[in-house]
Symmetry: C2
Subunit: 369 residues, 2 copies
């Protein structure tokens, strides 16, 4: 794939760590929530191998927060997600698909319950703040909605636990998955969650004070030398192998949560009120007409700058390949595709053209088994 430069401007916001990662060798960016998100430090495969064995520090400031506070905040947050939050607890993170009136996805954030009347919605790449503001205005909810200054540093990889214990003390190792608490580093308290956009384990530091965050960022590299720490970023290979879905890549506002396999987060039998609830009941009753599936392709490389239609052996359009990569684990190309009924049967075979050569592919589960 040919390389094109990114034309920087204030609109593609820099982060408190941008000058650091540029000295550390970032080579490619993507844009996420109108902000620079590093996409590569040289080879993606080198980054993948390192992430699975050691520890990386990521500038994921682009994972912006929508802060909803005030008397009606719980009501508004619940209205936006199909997941029942009535038993949610302060200090916990919740993966919450956000749904519109049509039952389609608006975003798939992690929601942090900061207090009974204060929530952070840690968003994927769409302007949830304007959805929330529109709803709050229409319903005359008593809420305050802002994008707070929060610039997340993620520490990911199997050695992230040792590094974080060294830097922040034993207590951080007691944090449960998707739990968060406050930890002191050189006089600044940081909200830290055990979370992150990889399956290699790790933490996310919700930095609210840029100077303190930069100090922590630098210290993580100092203290991390013995763990072979490197700068990194969400890794295309690792995230596809781990079936971590990406809003905008694998699904968008034309897809509903059942089509994306989010069934466990759709609380249709609950008492809570959320947008699209009746519509989703109807969809569940009638059945879905397309579904996100894994694919395996007998090829050794692929670059997918945009989606690609997939045809079966009879030349029938069966779906659309939305993300793909060569997988060192499976020793072939794997990907995520939206497949039409009835073709999502995992035995469906197809042909696909990559670089003008035809390859065999087959549909499998999202875990590539």
């Amino acid at each position: 794939m040919k390389n094109f430069s990114i034309a920087k401007s204030r609109r593609l916001r820099s982060t408190p760590y941008t000058s650091r990662i540029e000295k550390q060798g970032v080579t490619a960016y993507t844009i996420y929530n109108h902000m620079l998100l590093p996409a590569a430090f040289g080879s993606i495969e080198d980054g993948y191998n390192h992430l699975k064995e050691h520890v990386q520090v990521w500038d994921v400031s682009a994972e912006r927060q929508v802060e909803i506070s005030g008397k009606d905040s719980a009501k508004l947050v619940q209205l936006m997600t199909c997941r029942d939050l009535s038993k949610s607890k302060v200090g916990r993170c919740y993966y919450c698909p956000i749904i519109d009136d049509a039952g389609n996805l608006v975003n798939d954030p992690v929601v942090l319950k900061i207090a009974e009347d204060k929530w952070w919605i840690s968003i994927a790449d769409s302007d949830v703040i304007f959805f929330a503001k529109g709803l709050a205005s229409g319903h005359k909810f008593n809420v305050k909605i802002i994008e707070p200054t929060v610039d997340i540093i993620a520490i990911q990889g199997p050695k992230s636990f040792s590094l974080m214990e060294k830097v922040l003390g034993k207590k951080i190792t007691e944090l449960k998955f998707f739990g968060f608490d406050y930890f002191d580093f050189k006089g600044t308290k940081h909200l830290i969650a055990r979370s992150g956009w990889s399956k290699q384990g790790g933490f996310e530091v919700y930095v609210q004070n840029a100077a303190a965050g930069q100090k922590l960022y630098d210290h993580l590299f100092e203290a991390g030398k013995e763990f072979n720490v490197k700068p990194g970023c969400p890794n295309l290979i690792e995230r596809i192998e781990s079936a971590l879905l990406s809003y905008g890549n694998d699904f968008d506002n034309n897809d509903n949560p059942f089509e994306c396999g989010f069934d466990q987060y759709v609380s249709l039998d609950s008492e809570v009120n959320f947008l699209g609830k009746e519509k989703l009941k109807k969809i569940k009753l009638e059945g879905i007409k397309k579904k996100l599936m894994g694919v395996k392709i007998e090829a050794k490389e692929i670059s997918l700058p945009t989606s690609k239609k997939i045809y079966d052996e009879n030349n029938t359009l069966i779906g659309e390949l939305r993300s793909a990569t060569y997988s060192p684990q499976f020793k072939q190309v794997i990907g995520i595709a939206m497949i039409k009924t009835p073709f999502w049967n995992t035995s469906t075979f197809f042909k696909i053209e990559i670089n003008k050569k035809s390859y065999d592919g087959r549909i499998c589960s999202l875990s590539f088994t």
Copy 2:
């Protein structure tokens, strides 16, 4: 400024013209409404000189539409903008700041009145669709809100009139500024407006059929040879010299329309109901505390990947430079800055550091006079 690649993926949507502009020599992209928007074909200054003398064809598909139709569509569109649309006419475009409950800007689109009950909001870079969906849901408006498949081709530059007359016939020359009508090209009717994001004159073709749009795109280059047609894109130099403001660059959701000089589009004395009206009345009464102004700097070059604080001669922070370029017309660097009161007095001088050298600057009007 160091170059970084853009990491392409489905989330950064391609357009029907992407493969064409990549063959034609696009060198840099920006991301706008989650879509690729070309930012350079080689030298920006060459593009500027060509645009001011000849004609260019631009892939501005990233200028997405939010289509609002149905019984309550006029009510919803009016609710979102501070501009009085009660006398608006079908077939006309309206520059309409979109405002939230706090009186701050959400976007600054051009609104096309397609029919009494159908509107296209031709948006700058923020997800207006979710603001509209939130408001419609909260107010229980009877509307349908979609992002239609519309991929705009802009034809810009002084020779755009001759080129469009050659391709579409004499009738297109009768189109008034910010008017639109339907024109046939090889059997497909295209909505064409006399508009575009330059001050060199031109048209925007709202392409709804990708194949027909590609045919038109190719034909414009064939027919345009005699007018020295070239591929192009919104040009940083031309747009700053022309004081065409950019949402996200020059202003954002932390700024209100008075701070951006949009006073003529704020219909506080009208009868119409829109978000933030009372708040804007209060702001007008109390006066604004910051204002977008032009700046001139005694330097011959600048690259501004992000905003830059500006201090006056006494080292007092007076504002923030948000966009800047070397201007061939003014033979110095010019820019757009948000300046605090009382420093927006156009005689204010300041010092600014560019590439570790200090330069003299002064504040001027947005038209750089």
